[in-house]
């Protein structure tokens, strides 16, 4: 079953002094997110990711189209008890402590009174916010606020979690912890929908991704499929900093990184390259078919749209 069905959702804002000039933030969007998957919503800044999330959360009203979340209409208040949301760069009531904040959100989410305290402690432990009793949120660092944000999103044990740029403001360790947490959520059978422009996070985590640019869906698919395309090239890595002349003659693009040389060359030159290295007594480290990275796919989709736009104009 689809956890999220987006059916032609679109948004146009009226801008200008008299609110007469239309500005389209999101073209009609059709998208399905299956239950239990981690879905990445990718795009550069200003692509329409946050607008989409806000519409799904009922913060912004769509100009047209609709969406179904966990088999309910997007604007059904009851469905909100089953979803969690972390906004981009979250800001909370800074006069509260993290415990008070989470207690308040637990009340609003309908968590029974007896369970609230235990849930709050559990979730704070889970996001690594310990030893903060009595500290008001105004004294929290950006990373701590992000952790508090993640805590409030999963506090009420939702079936579906929306994260808007969850890694923002986190140090490498924090990012790793959030990635682990998202994987745990998946293992618990929850669906995770997150927006990001950090492609390495998406590649490491997502089952499927969608790419949006300038309010338009440019591509959608399983990460494994998008990155499995072999480009007819191989990557050869050998020890040392020397590049044999024969390699250059084969048309290899070589880069020295540390004590190794990485060379990309046509697949049909693979055997010749191995022979060349053997002749020169150079130690071969790896030879792998070159696959499309998510980044390459992303850039291709963005460039394709720019080229198309250029041709049309």
């Amino acid at each position: 079953m689809a956890a999220i069905e987006i059916l032609g959702l679109e948004k146009t804002y009226m801008v200008g002094f008299w609110h007469k000039r239309p500005k389209r933030a999101l073209q009609p969007l059709h998208l399905n997110v299956e239950e239990g998957e981690i879905f990445g919503f990718l795009g550069p800044n200003g692509a329409g990711k946050t607008t989409t999330l806000k519409m799904l959360m009922g913060l912004v009203f769509p100009t047209a189209g609709t969406a179904r979340i966990l088999d309910h209409e997007w604007n059904d208040p009851e469905v909100k008890a089953q979803i969690g949301f972390l906004p981009e760069q979250p800001y909370f009531y800074d006069y509260l402590t993290a415990h008070e904040l989470l207690e308040y959100y637990a009340q609003l989410s309908g968590v029974p009174g007896k369970e609230r305290k235990r849930r709050v402690e559990e979730v704070l432990q889970r996001v690594g916010l310990t030893d903060i009793k009595g500290v008001q949120l105004r004294k929290f660092s950006k990373g701590m606020l992000q952790r508090a944000g993640i805590a409030q999103a999963i506090l009420h044990n939702p079936k579906l979690v929306f994260f808007d740029e969850p890694m923002s403001g986190l140090d490498p360790l924090g990012r790793r912890e959030v990635r682990d947490l998202m994987e745990q959520l998946k293992q618990e059978g929850k669906t995770v929908f997150f927006s990001t422009h950090i492609l390495s996070d998406a590649e490491a985590l997502c089952d499927r991704v969608a790419i949006v640019h300038k309010g338009e869906l440019r591509g959608v698919g399983a990460v494994a499929d998008l990155t499995s395309t072999v480009q007819g090239k191989v990557e050869v890595i050998w020890q040392g900093v020397r590049t044999p002349a024969s390699m250059k003659a084969m048309g290899a693009e070589c880069h020295v990184t540390g004590d190794n040389v990485r060379a990309v060359l046509p697949e049909n030159q693979q055997d010749a390259a191995i022979d060349s290295l053997r002749r020169e007594h150079i130690r071969l480290i790896a030879i792998t078919p070159l696959r499309t990275s998510l980044e390459a796919y992303f850039v291709e989709k963005l460039q394709h749209s720019q080229t198309t736009a250029g041709k049309i104009s």
Partner: protein, 258 residues
Amino acid sequence: MSPRMIYIASNTFREAVRDRVLYNLIAFALLLSGAAIFVGQISIDIERLVVINLGLTAVSLFGIVIAIFIGIGLVSKEIEKRTLYTVLSRPVRRWEFIVGKFLGLAGTLVVNTFFMAIGVFAALLYVAHKFSAPDALILVALYFIILEFLIICSLALFFSSFSSPLLSAVFAFSLFVIGSFADDLRGFATLTHGVTRWIATAAAYLVPNFSALNVISAVAHQQPLASRLILQNSLYALFYTAMALSSAVLIFERRNLK
């Protein structure tokens, strides 16, 4: 009443307390005790009149300032700081949020007024040395002041549901000033003719009638108050507040939180 509204109201009250809104009580206490000592020394037989007039006027003005300046930020601050996103993404209806915020601010003002009322009675006891039966009317005046706060809170909330905090403050304060002269405006309407009369009458009935809620002078002069005035003012204030709150909800229900 939905429990979510109560949670939002108590959080609003907690915010006001932690933002040191109740510190105004210190200024009020200083003002009143200073005035009591001062009139106790210089006036002859009018100490009671001065203390009641000054005390109740201060209760009203302090509360109005709090109602306007907190009320205008109740919604706009939450949108600006994006704290609203994590509230409305839960099973909270937008109307519950508005009404909860209103109840929280109203509760803050009632608590504030309660402590100020203790101050007024203490100052009165200090200058008059005893209470007399007509002093009970001070409670009626305080009740009317609270009704005044309810109207102002709902208006501030109404303006803040679509306008910037600065404009909301200007609108709410202007309505308070005009509303304080509502009786004069109605009198003026009867003196005019044609379109002017029509406009003046409409304006006189549209602005909140704060002059009907102001019985401070009558109470200070120990004039009796008609009991039907309490019923009339209660119904009027509740109706006006409900209308302003409903309008705020109608606007907020359609607002995009960009």
